[in-house]
Amino acid sequence: MGAFLDNVDLVIIAIGALVGISASLLGTFLVLRGASLYSDAISHSILLGIVLVYLISGDVHSPYQVVGAALAGLATVYLSELLGASKRVKQDAAIGLVFPALFALAVLLINLYARDVHLDEHAVLLGELAFAWLDVVPVGSLEVPRSLLTMGIITVVNALFVTLFYKELKLAVFDAGLAHALGLKPRLLFYALLLLTSVTAVGAFDAVGAILFVTFVIVPPAAAYLLTDRLWLVLLGGCLIAVMSSVLGFHAAMYLDVSIGGMMATITGLLLALAFLAGPRYGLIARFLRLRQQRVQAHVRMLLVHLYTHEHEAEAEMENVPRALEHHLRWSPRLSRAVTAIAQQQGLITVEPAGQRLHLTEQGRRMAQEVLEPWRRI
């Protein structure tokens, strides 16, 4: 344990990973519910809670911070929902009205009353993971970095929350109406989720800053969601992506000499882009290939039907030749050649004599029949 704590690199990576895990556990449900931008709103407005608690208690690290920030976070969500429910403005505009105002107020209060403390708005926005290990608290005989400790506790709490209320959260996200009818109180659960999000944001803001925290809430679950349909896999995948981002981000940041938290967050974005492009089922490339495959198959079926219709007619000599495809199906010569070759390859047609007459094989005939008369499936 002591050896681990002495390894600054490992500690920094661990803090980043813990922020990522705790954030994406909650973020999964926010993303799926379509409420992910509340995390953006919360991460800004907790600054107001932090400033107010500081002004009252005079201590940047007082435990009441958590309370103040949580209240500020909930107030943001409540105000936004209230404003949206009043129908005077749309829901998205409501969010955009509330949190900048609270954030602006916080910045102003810092400007006025808290100029010289470690509470400047830049640190709040960006955080500084590189120095997180300097601030230590004694635990037993060990000196544990404060961020590591708080993020560890928060991760455990979030994991417990998600495990204990897994069923309820799942139902509340996918079918709030049913959850309500069963007496599960989805709204209360939602507010509990946002309360934990606020608390996590406070814990994370020392380490990675408010806006990078938003990245960890939204991006890993979103990336995992692009890869799988199972909820528990989204949760797990989100955590994995968060850990990967932390490790990769740290090394990239060291190499390029840039902000560690920023690099970790950027990596999550890159991983999402990768999932978006190369995901097995929903990825852009996979979908493109599937589409092309389907297009080819559609053409093959069209060819089979064409041959089948004219098979026993007098015009078969005219119709069932490669040239006719260009005239009657309006295919380009290249397409005709390609489709004929594929159909031949799949054993659906034969070309005899070579390059002149197209004949259906038994299998090809069956397939054409199935297209034309699907109800007579044999």
Binding site: L37, R88, D92, G96, A101, L112, I218, V219, T266, T268
Partner: protein, 380 residues
């Protein structure tokens, strides 16, 4: 002694004030379209995406002039908007998640670039992070010219394509059926949000810019149903918050202009939400009270008339207890109000206790009309 005039004509102050006016006007006009097209939070994404744009602009140009930075912000902002569109259209993410993903990763990229620039000790980079919150005092006349040019482009586009933008905003399906290039027009409208962001960089900064896009437009929406009026009002509100925020920031050194402008804009929005005629919360509450009073009066009048008729005399005075029983609740307040309107009159009881009330001729007339209206209504 320093007079108000001296302050207002001071070089820095005048620059800041002009900048704020320009910014407020433009973001009001462009924000109107963003809010109506439900793209408010896209504004948030675009303003955060301006940070990497600024950094790239700086890296390319090698100096802290506004022009290249603004151009960088505009280009990267447009790229961010395109990414949001791509994710929304071609992935299973909902639009909020797409916005969130783009917003946060672009900003993260921005912080990486920012620290890269800082750690490379490149010359002239000092104060690049002032774009996070804006720095009105650092406004130069050349910046003003740049802002003015951008604003002219933005407002000019709105004027030239007024009809097109209006239709695309309210009924894109119809616009498409007319054969208009709807995608292109929507793209232009979205890029114009990036334009508003660019112009706000110097004054308000990337973090709070979203408020200036949403708040004036949301405020203007409460006062009118017409797009023309809404755009003008939003421009007015935006300019007013810009000016007010700048002036308040002069009261004490160290007061940041950006947050103050944002708070002014939000204040105007809050007041509009509360007070605007027809839509305002207070207005509605007053209206509801009035309607309720009307309904209550009507019911008490009709009850009184029916009670009197049951006694074969329309001038019959009913005991208040009886009225309460028929009315189903305490009618005291309503009776007092009706008395003030001269529709009922209290009389001393001939027998029994408590107050008695009878209808005045005017009250009988009113009650009869209500009763007939009610009957007509039932027959329909």
């Amino acid at each position: 002694m320093e007079t108000v005039w001296d302050v207002l004509t001071d070089f820095t102050v005048r620059n800041a004030l002009l900048g704020a006016l320009l910014l407020g006007t433009l973001s009001g006009v462009l924000g109107t379209f963003a809010v109506l097209r439900e793209q408010s939070l896209l504004g948030d994404a675009l303003s955060h995406a301006a940070l990497p744009g600024i950094c790239i602009g700086f890296l390319v140009a090698g100096s802290r002039q506004l022009w290249p930075l603004a151009l960088g912000a505009l280009v990267v902002g447009a790229a961010a908007a395109w990414c949001v569109l791509l994710l929304t259209r071609h992935s299973r993410l909902k639009s909020d998640a797409s916005v969130g993903v783009v917003l946060s990763t672009f900003f993260a990229g921005g912080t990486v670039l920012l620290t890269y620039i800082q750690n490379q000790q490149l010359p002239g980079q000092a104060g690049l992070d002032s774009f996070l919150f804006g720095q009105a005092a650092a406004m130069l006349p050349s910046d003003l010219w740049a802002m003015g040019a951008v604003a002219a482009v933005g407002i000019g586009l709105v004027l030239v394509f007024w009809k097109e933008f209006k239709l695309v905003t309210f009924d894109p399906g119809f616009a498409r059926s007319l054969g208009w290039p709807v995608r292109l027009l929507e793209g232009v409208l979205t890029s114009m949000i990036a334009l508003a962001v660019v112009i706000g960089l110097q004054m308000v900064g990337v973090v709070l810019m979203v408020a200036l896009i949403i708040a004036p437009a949301a405020a203007a929406r409460q006062w009118t149903q017409r797009l023309e009026t809404m755009v003008l009002l939003a421009a007015l509100f935006g300019a007013a918050s810009g000016a007010a925020g700048t002036l308040v920031s002069l009261v004490r050194p160290g007061l940041a202009t950006g947050p103050l402008i944002v708070l002014c804009a939000t204040g105007i929005a809050a007041l509009s939400l509360l007070l605007a005629p027809r839509r305002g919360v207070v207005w509605r509450a007053v209206q509801r009270r009035r309607t309720r009073a009307e309904v209550e009066s009507g019911r008490v009048l009709v009850d009184l008339l029916q009670l009197a008729r049951a006694h074969g005399d329309e001038n019959y005075a009913s005991a208040q207890g009886m009225i309460n029983a028929v009315y189903g609740a305490d009618a005291q307040a309503t009776l007092v109000r009706l008395e003030k309107e001269g529709l009922v009159r209290p009389v001393a009881p001939e027998h029994g206790t408590g107050r008695h009330w009878h209808l005045t001729p005017a009250g009988q007339e009113a009650a009869r009309r209500l009763l007939e209206g009610r009957r007509d209504g039932r027959e329909e």
